[in-house]
């Protein structure tokens, strides 16, 4: 029983790790220029991705922000960011991998995020 449980856990974490690694490549390619290597942001031009409370509270919005861009002012770590983020027209799986990377890197630990969750989030975009 313990063995089955253990192997299940491993299968999930293997998938999560694969998403994380692919997500990192996507991050370097599309996001790092502005958000920085360590998710530190850039001055008051680009917000950091290191605010765990924000990342958790807005997790279901992340897919929409990546896919459609974002231009409403944001307050992160007490600073207001009002710049415009461009849209990145990516496939659901790429968005899922990116979300796994940015919600598990930079000091976060929020676990797996699936393509289905991304598809569902994108339906509810504001």
């Amino acid at each position: 029983m313990a063995g089955i449980f253990y192997s299940c856990q491993t299968a999930e974490s293997v998938q999560r790790d694969a998403y994380y690694v692919n997500g990192r490549d996507l991050y370097i390619q599309h996001c790092q220029n502005c958000h920085g290597e360590k998710g530190e942001g850039l001055g008051e031009l680009t917000p950091p991705l290191t605010d765990s409370i924000f990342m958790k509270a807005n997790k279901s919005q992340l897919a929409c922000i990546i896919k459609n861009g974002f231009s409403t002012p944001l307050t992160i770590h007490g600073k207001v960011y009002e710049g415009k983020m461009p849209d990145f027209n990516m496939a659901d799986i790429d968005i899922a991998q990116l979300i796994v990377y940015i919600t598990n890197g930079f000091g976060h630990k929020q676990g797996m995020y699936t393509n289905e969750q991304v598809a569902k989030d994108l339906k509810d975009c504001k």
């Binding site: 790092q32 220029n33 001055g43």
Partner: protein, 216 residues
């Protein structure tokens, strides 16, 4: 006793040689086109002198909506680049790297920075001001310059040797190179570093003190 003197001399000699070796200074190359001119020496003879390419006189609006000219950079070396505020590809990384250099030489009044916008439609001085404030570098040390398209594009391609152009097929409307160009006190180009490449930016950081050391 005699033996001791020999050792002493050897040490002194070694020290002198060592110091001489240290004096050997690295010198940065001078880039751009060159011309020659014949000059008359004080003793009446003639000789040929090299004329280096220099940054021509310019007059541009800065982030405070005041004019800046070459006089603002008189007696200083500066790092120049071309960007636009809404650029999301190479500009953020260029300015992230440039800001690191800016921070390193923050207290050196002989080092300045000059960023020209190539977005003559949108990047008015007030937009540049906001950008500078948000980057955290607003002040006289780092100037953000706005000018007419022909003026700025001419400066970029002919004087700083950085390729810039308006491109309707590009999503953001402009394409440009990300060089950080190092200009000396005689307005000559002494280096060009890819602002998106960490190694080249590190080289720029090493080259600035070399250029500062140079005698006029």
């Amino acid at each position: 006793m005699k033996y001791q003197f020999t050792i002493r001399y050897t040490i002194v000699l070694a020290a002198i040689l060592f110091l001489c070796a240290c004096k050997e200074q690295r010198k940065l190359p001078v880039y751009g086109l060159r011309d020659t001119k014949t000059v008359k020496n004080s003793d009446g003879t003639r000789s040929v002198d090299t004329v280096y390419q220099t940054i021509p006189a310019f007059k541009l609006l800065n982030q405070d909506s005041t004019y800046i000219t070459n006089d603002n950079f008189k007696g200083k070396i500066y790092v120049a680049d071309f960007f636009f505020t809404s650029c999301t590809s190479i500009c953020p990384i260029m300015h992230r790297n440039m800001k690191n250099i800016f921070d390193k030489f923050r207290d050196n009044p002989e080092v300045m920075f000059l960023s020209h916008t190539i977005d003559f439609k949108y990047d008015t001085p007030s937009v540049l001001k906001k950008y500078a404030q948000k980057l955290g570098v607003d002040g006289p040390k780092w100037q953000f310059a706005y000018g007419l398209k022909d003026t700025v594009y001419g400066l970029a391609t002919k004087s700083y040797l950085v390729s810039v152009e308006q491109d309707g097929t590009d999503k953001q409307g402009y394409v440009h190179q990300g060089y950080l160009v190092l200009i000396d006190k005689d307005r000559r180009i002494r280096g060009a570093y890819d602002g998106t490449n960490a190694d080249q930016v590190a080289q720029l950081e090493k080259d600035i003190p070399v250029l500062l050391e140079e005698k006029q």
